[in-house]
């Protein structure tokens, strides 16, 4: 992690369902690449962090110091992907559900 870029970007995170105690009823997948977002949204924000208009304005207001206490915008997931999960329900029947927003595709400042 130490040589990760300072700027808001996607970082690698692999989630193993055994680590969160769900592996007893989850048949597949046993783990998946979830990723996460971290990093600074400092003024001036480069295009790569795909700031929203509001984030740009908030960042300028913070830099100019007009209003004290304004935090810098947050680095959050922008595009996300679904994940199909095969699991056993309480009656031990097999269920397939496609959950949205389970892994990060891109991050952005908001």
């Amino acid at each position: 992690q130490w040589n990760e870029p300072r700027i808001c970007s996607r970082r690698y995170l692999k989630v193993d369902f055994a680590d969160i105690g769900w592996n007893e009823w989850i048949i597949s997948p046993k783990s998946f690449d979830a990723y996460y977002c971290a990093g600074a949204c400092e003024f001036p924000m480069p295009k790569i962090v795909r700031p929203s208009n509001h984030a740009t304005i908030q960042s300028i207001v913070r830099a100019v110091g007009i209003v004290p206490g304004i935090p810098e915008p947050c680095c959050i997931p922008d595009k996300m992907n679904s994940l199909g999960v095969l699991f056993l329900d309480e009656n031990q029947n097999v269920v397939l559900k496609v959950y949205p927003n389970m892994s990060v595709e891109t991050c952005a400042c908001r």
């Binding site: 055994a18 969160i20 048949i27 597949s28 997948p29 999960v85 095969l86 559900k97 496609v98 959950y99």
Partner: protein
């Protein structure tokens, strides 16, 4: 009643079966991960749907949920009835389609001949070798705790297959009507059109139902917790009754490294919080009363000297935190 029509079930449920020459072929380790019944057809079928979605993003049946329901076999009045408990469906799941999957034994004479040869059962040949008996598939629905046979929801005539294979029937109207009436227990009975002696032996391959649905709540925040978080990750007191069976025997490997040695506190050495003895009103500076190795201020030794001394000091009292004079002066002033 329903004519024996070719069911218009979702393409995905047909692929998994029609192309399946050997229905018992297991798709590999994940289906075996299902535990008991790992090789039953419903597990194989569901894993195929999962693989199809994971590889090609093909949404099963056009929705975001597929629920499977295994059959529970009961013999009622000399009839083999398969019961399906559909209560695990959630209110937010809108049914798109429902299919009934069952294995049909071969009914043609030569196929029957082969079957009798295999089963070496003398009475096997007694059955008429004429035209195969037509069968009906009868569905009844009943609410949880009624002893009646329930309401007849549908009957289908079955064209006997040329050889043993898995068949699929679309029972969407039957399941939707039963759910609308709140009768989430379904029974299926395979009945011969003309009476056959004795109870028809239930197929060794148990039938099952698949329900393709769209879960309208799946895009809600935290929807994954609703169906997959079975117990609080930080249980307060004993786990809830519905908690994972052996949540106490936590299978997870602890990753936290042990704290190395006793925790060092940040108190300044020698300036511990001893009580000042109660006497006279005048206010004493507390630190004057504490025996402290740091009381007499020493002249600053040369840098080289200090570094050596510093090391000695460190070696001598490594278990106590050491501070430079400036910090000590500040502390004394305070």
């Amino acid at each position: 009643s329903h004519r024996a029509t070719a069911w218009p079930a979702p393409q995905s449920s047909a692929d998994g079966l029609v192309e399946d020459k050997d229905p018992q072929r297991s798709p590999g380790d994940a289906a075996t991960a299902l535990g008991p019944g790992a090789q039953d057809m419903v597990a194989v079928h569901m894993f195929r749907l999962y693989e199809k979605y994971s590889r090609r993003g093909a949404r099963p049946g056009g929705g975001n949920t597929v629920r499977s329901f295994r059959a529970r076999l009961e013999v009622v009045d000399q009839k083999a009835l398969y019961f399906f408990n559909l209560t695990s469906m959630q209110d937010s799941e809108m049914i798109l389609a429902a299919t009934f999957h069952f294995y049909s034994e071969p009914w043609w004479p030569w196929a029957r001949e082969a079957l009798c040869k295999r089963s070496k059962n003398a009475s096997c040949r007694l059955f008429s070798t004429g035209l195969p008996a037509r069968h009906h598939l009868l569905f009844h629905s009943l609410s949880q705790n009624t002893a009646t046979q329930g309401l007849l929801r549908g009957a289908m005539a079955l064209a006997p297959p040329p050889r043993g294979l898995w068949q699929t029937k679309d029972i969407s109207p039957i399941v939707k009507a039963a759910r609308r009436d709140g009768e989430l227990l379904l029974s299926a009975q395979l009945e011969a059109a003309k009476k056959e002696p004795g109870v028809r032996r239930p197929s060794p391959h148990a039938p099952y139902i698949l329900i393709y649905a769209n879960d309208l709540a799946i895009s809600e925040p935290n929807s994954v917790a609703v169906t997959l978080q079975r117990y609080d990750p930080f249980p307060a007191g004993d786990p809830e009754p519905g908690a994972a069976p052996n949540s106490s025997a936590d299978p997870r490997v602890r990753r936290a490294t042990q704290a190395s040695g006793p925790l060092q506190d940040n108190e300044l050495p020698g300036l511990d919080e001893r009580r000042v003895p109660a006497h006279g009103a005048q206010h004493h500076h507390e630190y004057e009363l504490w025996p402290s190795p740091f009381q007499a201020l020493k002249t600053r030794p040369a840098r080289k000297e200090r570094r050596r001394k510093g090391q000695d000091l460190f070696v001598a009292s490594s278990q106590v935190l050491n501070f430079d004079e400036k910090t000590m002066q500040k502390a004394r002033r305070k």
